[in-house]
Every structure is written in structure tokens, then in C-alpha cells.
């Protein structure tokens, strides 16, 4: 029985032949991914290539692609590659603001105000993302902090959006 190697040790930037940098061109990544699919997919592998192994290697290709295409997963992977652990708790200088986010949201009664608040969070995420893109490569401490913040706001938004969806 075959077991996957621990994929978390992999460097997905190298895997796609990309420079180790948070800034990557998503369109190029997509084309690299699709071209590799065309070569490696079990449906198109011929001759010696056994479909079973093709399955596993394409599975890894899929995981790598998904990780790099998502801005937050990519940030976390970037940290891992740079051997910096991911913060699993909010840094103390943000903690208060973030925990208040829930209370603030709940205290808003008006629907359009609620939406405005969410929009401001989405914009905040965009701001943080562009900060990440512009950070110096060796400013890992800041990178780590912003990544954690992004993850936090994102899970808050996901929760609220799902709630709204299931309400009507």
C-alpha cells in the first residue's frame, strides 16, 4: 500500500519552477499548471506510466496549485518555506480590535450598516494583501503578523456570509 510523503515539507514554488516570492503571476501559474496536467494526468499518460502513480502525482499537483492560488494559503505556505511558524493566536496589538469585531458587528442593527461594516473589512483585507505584496522579503515578522490577521478576518467573513446565505 502506497503512502503519500508528507507533502507539507514540499516547496510548491520550486515545484512549479517559480521564484520563492509571495508575489507571483497567477495567470502564468495557471498555464504552467494546465500544461503539467496535460502531460501528467492519468488519462493522457501512456506507455510505462502506470495510472496509479499518475493519480498520486497529479494529486500533488492539484494540492500545490490550490495552495498557491489562494492568497492566504499561499502566504502561509510562503512562511513555511521560509521556515517561520504560522501564528495561531492573534498578536496582542491586534487582539482587542479583532475580538471587538464580533461585538461591533452584532451591535449593528441596520442591514445596510452591517453591509458597510463588512465592506470595510473586505477593504481592510485588500489593504493587508497589498501590504503583503509590498513587504520586503526579509521582513518575516510583519509578514507573519499580517497573514494571521488575514486568516482571522477571512474566517469571520466566511461565517457571516454563510449565515446571510442560509437566512433567506
Amino acid at each position: 500500500m502506497y503512502h503519500t510523503q508528507d507533502m507539507s515539507d514540499k516547496n510548491y514554488f520550486e515545484f512549479f519552477g517559480l521564484p520563492i516570492s509571495y508575489n507571483l503571476d497567477e495567470t502564468s501559474l495557471m498555464y504552467i499548471y494546465l500544461e503539467r496536467q496535460r502531460k501528467e494526468h492519468p488519462d493522457s499518460c501512456t506507455g510505462d506510466c502506470v495510472s496509479f502513480f499518475a493519480d498520486n502525482s497529479v494529486a500533488e499537483l492539484n494540492t500545490a496549485y490550490q495552495t498557491l492560488m489562494d492568497p492566504i494559503n499561499r502566504a502561509e505556505h510562503y512562511l513555511k518555506v521560509r521556515r517561520v511558524s504560522i501564528l495561531d493566536q492573534l498578536p496582542s496589538d491586534f487582539a482587542e480590535e479583532m475580538f471587538n469585531m464580533h461585538q461591533k458587528y452584532d451591535s449593528i442593527k441596520n442591514e445596510s450598516e452591517k453591509e458597510k461594516f463588512l465592506e470595510s473589512l473586505r477593504n481592510k483585507m485588500k489593504d493587508i494583501l497589498s501590504l503583503l505584496h509590498n513587504l520586503k522579503e526579509d521582513d518575516l515578522e510583519k509578514f507573519r503578523k499580517y497573514t494571521c490577521l488575514l486568516r482571522f478576518i477571512n474566517s469571520f467573513l466566511e461565517k457571516v456570509e454563510l449565515n446571510a446565505y442560509s437566512r433567506d
Binding site: 494546465l34 496536467q37 494526468h41 493522457s44 496549485y65 493566536q89 487582539a95 449565515n163 446565505y165 442560509s166
Partner: protein, 573 residues
């Protein structure tokens, strides 16, 4: 030896083959392209012959006829002592036999289509039906993806397209990217119990209520439902349809106007748009970012559906392809491409429903998220929660809900023979893999000893259709509640762990912080003993205490370590 594509539909079945690079349907039933997915079992009168398709329909012996068997795929329900797989196999054997006569060559293998939202159990059941019919399944592919393949190939289209697939029993919506023969599914969603059948039922119910009909036998009902279906289809061309229907010896005039048809179907059509918009949001796209919507499935022949879709999506609508053939065409193309290892078309599909494992608290640890491209492999490590525990039970579930009991149960298994050890030390790696057919394989392995259990998920179902329907309906309604519930369970577990840790070190914390930690723990205990408290209050309190304790932790630990150094041997044991 031929290979074909088969669209095994809820109401109709279509079989197609590639001829000189072009897909063609093989006419089966009196030369028609489609065969009704209907089986008649009145064996005695038919000299033990089972009737299928139009022959079964024209018999009008509704007491011995099975309709829409696809709705029961993967369940343990029986009809005339036959399982859904056996009945589906009956339909498959029939189309295979007639097609072989027409083509004068035998059919060896096929690509068979399934609704994108079919669960693992329903897929396995479909595969089994095919092997009962003597057909080797080259691949199971999702219906909307199949339609996109046929469309993409015919139109040489590149870009991002959505497929709106509204059939007799199921609704699917997928968004795909087409790049030079590669079909990459970006996101998919659907409902296995939403289709034309629902509107037929609504038409029937409306008329039955109009006349206050209380007594109606099962076979009268079936006949009336077929009548409702015909009326629905005719209403497309006529403003008012009137038909006579005999119930309990009396004749009633059933009516359907285009206005009434809209009123009765609006609810279902709106539901399809809601699902579609969730798929847009999963794909992180808005309506104006796609190049068009392909209309697939018999229901999209309805004028009201087309118009509503135009209004809703405000983008190009492609309704020029034959919605009934296109799914089988895609399957035929894919079959040909697999057999010939054709590198010009390639399909990258996704997992339609999240797969996970039930956690200790009854929640779900999501292992493969919906819309993950297949094939995929994900692993997770688990451990024991009591000392000397030698077995771990796993419960694999599928669905979007937060609690395991609300998801579809896929399989249960136990990894036994773990060497006795302190809790938390064994390392059990669970590996989920989903292959290109969308079928799941689960294995578990204890890493220190290498003990292993491998399971291939089998249709064990055990759920009745009703249960499945309510499971799906509840899924969306309860997301709010669920998320909080599972967040609460995990927060509570975290709190319990932390409390026992803090209590073990509290004496080493100096005043006044010690008092603050004590108060904090008290507050936390109140929260976790009250079922109605919120996860975020628990988490905030944990963080509050953690912050205080954190200042002393290093000191306490190094003090303790110097007192009782850990012996390496002990840890190993």
C-alpha cells in the same frame, strides 16, 4: 469492441458514440434518440419479459412499473424485490443490447454520467449497476462537465462558462474554464432532489385540490403525474392546456395556463438560482465575469426557465444545443479520448461535497473540501484520547454541515492493535484519496508500528429517500446554527484542556495575577457548563487567561524541568 457514452437520466437515458470524430446518439426506442428510464415488471402477462422504455410506458400498467429509479440510487429501497442498482442495470442492458444490434458490434466499455452532486455512495451504486449490465466503466463523469465538453468541442470555445443543468430529477450548476481542450471545473453545486418531477407534482396537487379529490390510488396518481408532465411540456407552446383525468371512476378536467405554470414553478426556479449564485461565490466570480451560460437538461426547454435565466444571469445564454443529447455526447467524447489516450482533451473535475471524519465531540474534521480538483490525496494525523487505548474508530461522513450526525454517513471502520501507550503518543495517519471517478478510498495507519486498515467505500446507505431529502434541505437552513455549535464544541474542548493545565501550575503564578487567573477560570467554567453560551466568549476568556499566564510560562516550565528532568526512555515508552 466498442466504447460508448451513456447518460443514465432520471427520466430519460441516452447512448452515444464517436464516429469520425463527431459524437452521435444511437437511436434505441422506435428510432428515437432518448429512451424513457422506465421499467415494467408484470412478468406473467409479458411471458416473463421485462419491458423497458416506451414499451413499458405504453403498457400503462402503472401498478408494476418503476419510474425515476435514479432518485433511489444508493438507498436500500426495493421495488418488486429489486434494488435500484438492479433496475438501473435493466435499463443499461437494454440500451446496450439494442445499440449492439444497430452497430453490429459488441460494446465493451462506457463512460457513464452522474449528477455532479451525487455522493460517493450514489456513484458506487451507479458503477455497480453498469457492471451488472456487463459494461466496464471507463469513467464516471459529472453531467454538467460532460455537457461542457460537448459544447466546447463543437464551438471551439475558450473562456469561462457556466452549465445550468436542470433535468427531471436533479439540478446541477458548474462553472468551468475552457483552455485549448482542457476543461477545468472551478466550482460546482446542486441538489439531487430538485427537478421537473417537482413541478409535475405541483401541477397534480393543484388540480387535485381544485376538485377536492381525497381518494386517489397509487396507480391513478402515477398516471395523473404523467398527465401533468405532458401538460407541462405542452404548455410551452399553448397558453392553456386542458386534459381529462379519470380518478375513482370520475372524469375531471385538469387545467394548466402559462400563468399558473409560472406560479407553480417559480419557487423551484428561484431555488436553482440560489444554488447557482453560491457556485459563483465559491468560484470567486461574478455574473459578468463569465462568457456565457449553457442550458442543459429537458427542463431548460421550458420558456419560463430560459427567460428567468436570462433575467438572472444577465449574460449570454447558449440554448442552441440539444439539451437532451449534449450530456451523452460529452460522455462519448470522453470515452473516446480515454481509450485513445488523446492528449487534446483533458478533464479536470472537482469533489462535489466535503469529505471528513467525525471528531470526538460529534463535529466534523473536514479533510477534503468541496471543489478540490481530483484526483486528490489528503492526510491527517490522529491520536488516542485515553491511556492504553488499542483501537480507534473512524466515521467517514460527506456533506457541508458542521455536525457529523447531519452529514451523510459514508463508512465506519476501526483501526485495531495499536500498542498500549500513554494517550496522545500513538500517531495514526488517515489518508483520504479521491480518484478521477470521484470515488473515495480511505486508509488508516499507525505510524510507529505500520498497522494498517484500508477501506474502499461501498454503498452501505441505510438511509431512506425521505431521510436523504430532509438531510439536503436542512443543510443550508442550519449552517448558522451548525457553525456556532461546532465552534462551541471545539471551544469547550479547548477550554477543558486549558483549565486542567492552568490548574496544575496556578500555584506557581505570583499574586495579584494568580487571583486574576483564578477568576478567569471560574468565568470559563461557568461558560462551559452552560450550553447556551457562545464560543467566542469562551475563546476570548481563554485568550485573556493565556495572556496573563504567558508572562510566567517560561519561568515555570524551566523551574519544573530543573526539578524533574524528563527521561528520554520514559517518553519513548
Amino acid at each position: 469492441m466498442l466504447t460508448v457514452g451513456i447518460d443514465l437520466g432520471t427520466t430519460t437515458t441516452v447512448i452515444a458514440i464517436m464516429k469520425n470524430g463527431i459524437p452521435q446518439t444511437i437511436p434505441i426506442d422506435s428510432g428515437r434518440k432518448t429512451t424513457p428510464s422506465v421499467v415494467n415488471y408484470s412478468k406473467i402477462e409479458n411471458n416473463n419479459e421485462i419491458l423497458i422504455g416506451r414499451k413499458a410506458l405504453s403498457k400503462m400498467d402503472y401498478a408494476h412499473t418503476v419510474f425515476s429509479i435514479k432518485r433511489n440510487m444508493g438507498s436500500n429501497n426495493k421495488f418488486f424485490e429489486k434494488s435500484p442498482e438492479e433496475i438501473s442495470a435493466e435499463i443499461l442492458s437494454y440500451v446496450k443490447k439494442i445499440a449492439e444490434q444497430k452497430l453490429e458490434e459488441s460494446i465493451e466499455s462506457a463512460v457513464i454520467t452522474v449528477p455532479a452532486h451525487f455522493s460517493d455512495i450514489q456513484r458506487t451504486a451507479t458503477k455497480r449497476a453498469a457492471s451488472l449490465a456487463g459494461i466496464k466503466v471507463l469513467r464516471l463523469i459529472n453531467e454538467p462537465t460532460s455537457a461542457a465538453i460537448a459544447f466546447g468541442l463543437a464551438e471551439k470555445a475558450n473562456g469561462v462558462y457556466a452549465v445550468y443543468d436542470f433535468g427531471g430529477g436533479t439540478f446541477d450548476f458548474s462553472i468551468l474554464r475552457l483552455v485549448d481542450g482542457i476543461f477545468q471545473v472551478l466550482a460546482t453545486g446542486g441538489d439531487n432532489y430538485l427537478g421537473g418531477d417537482d413541478i409535475d407534482n405541483a401541477i397534480l396537487e393543484y388540480n387535485v385540490n381544485q376538485y377536492d379529490i381525497v381518494k386517489i390510488t397509487e396507480s391513478e396518481k402515477l398516471r395523473a403525474k404523467l398527465l401533468a408532465k405532458t401538460m407541462k411540456e405542452q404548455c410551452n407552446l399553448e397558453k392553456l392546456v386542458e386534459k381529462e383525468c379519470v380518478i375513482g371512476g370520475k372524469t375531471y378536467l385538469f387545467r394548466l395556463s402559462s400563468e399558473l405554470l409560472w406560479n407553480l414553478s417559480e419557487k423551484y426556479i428561484k431555488k436553482t438560482f440560489k444554488i447557482a449564485d453560491q457556485v459563483f461565490s465559491d468560484a470567486k466570480l461574478s455574473h459578468n465575469q463569465i462568457d456565457g451560460v449553457l442550458m442543459v437538461g429537458g427542463m431548460t426547454k421550458m420558456q419560463v426557465v430560459k427567460e428567468a435565466a436570462k433575467d438572472h444571469f444577465k449574460t449570454r445564454i447558449f440554448d442552441n444545443i440539444d439539451p437532451e443529447e449534449v450530456v451523452a455526447f460529452g460522455a462519448a467524447i470522453q470515452a473516446d479520448s480515454i481509450v485513445n489516450k488523446n492528449r487534446n482533451t483533458l478533464l479536470i473535475d472537482v469533489v462535489p461535497l466535503t469529505l471528513g471524519i467525525e471528531t470526538f465531540g460529534g463535529g466534523v474534521d473536514k479533510i477534503i473540501h468541496r471543489n478540490t480538483p481530483i484526483p486528490t490525496v489528503q492526510t491527517r494525523e490522529y491520536t488516542t484520547y485515553s491511556d492504553n487505548q488499542t483501537g480507534i474508530k473512524f466515521h467517514v461522513v460527506q456533506g457541508e454541515r458542521a455536525l457529523a450526525k447531519d452529514c451523510r454517513s459514508i463508512a465506519k471502520f476501526e483501526l485495531k492493535g495499536i500498542p498500549p501507550a500513554v494517550r496522545g503518543t500513538p500517531k495514526v495517519e488517515v489518508r483520504f484519496s479521491v480518484d478521477v471517478n470521484g470515488l473515495l478510498n480511505v486508509s488508516a495507519r499507525e505510524k510507529n508500528t505500520g498497522i494498517e486498515q484500508n477501506i474502499v467505500v461501498e454503498p452501505s446507505a441505510g438511509l431512506t429517500e425521505d431521510e436523504m431529502i430532509s438531510m439536503l434541505e436542512n443543510a443550508l437552513k442550519n449552517i448558522t446554527q451548525d457553525k456556532e455549535r461546532s465552534a462551541y464544541i471545539s471551544a469547550k474542548m479547548a477550554a477543558e484542556r486549558q483549565i486542567s493545565f492552568w490548574e496544575s501550575i496556578i500555584n506557581d503564578i505570583p499574586e495579584p495575577e494568580q487571583k486574576r487567573v483564578e477568576n478567569g477560570i471560574m468565568r470559563l467554567k461557568e461558560y462551559i457548563s452552560n450550553d447556551r453560551s457562545e464560543s467566542r466568549d469562551i475563546l476570548n476568556t481563554i485568550n485573556y487567561i493565556d495572556d496573563i499566564v504567558g508572562h510566567f510560562l517560561d519561568e515555570i516550565i524551566s523551574k519544573r524541568l530543573s526539578k524533574n528532568p524528563i527521561k528520554i526512555d520514559e517518553v519513548k515508552k
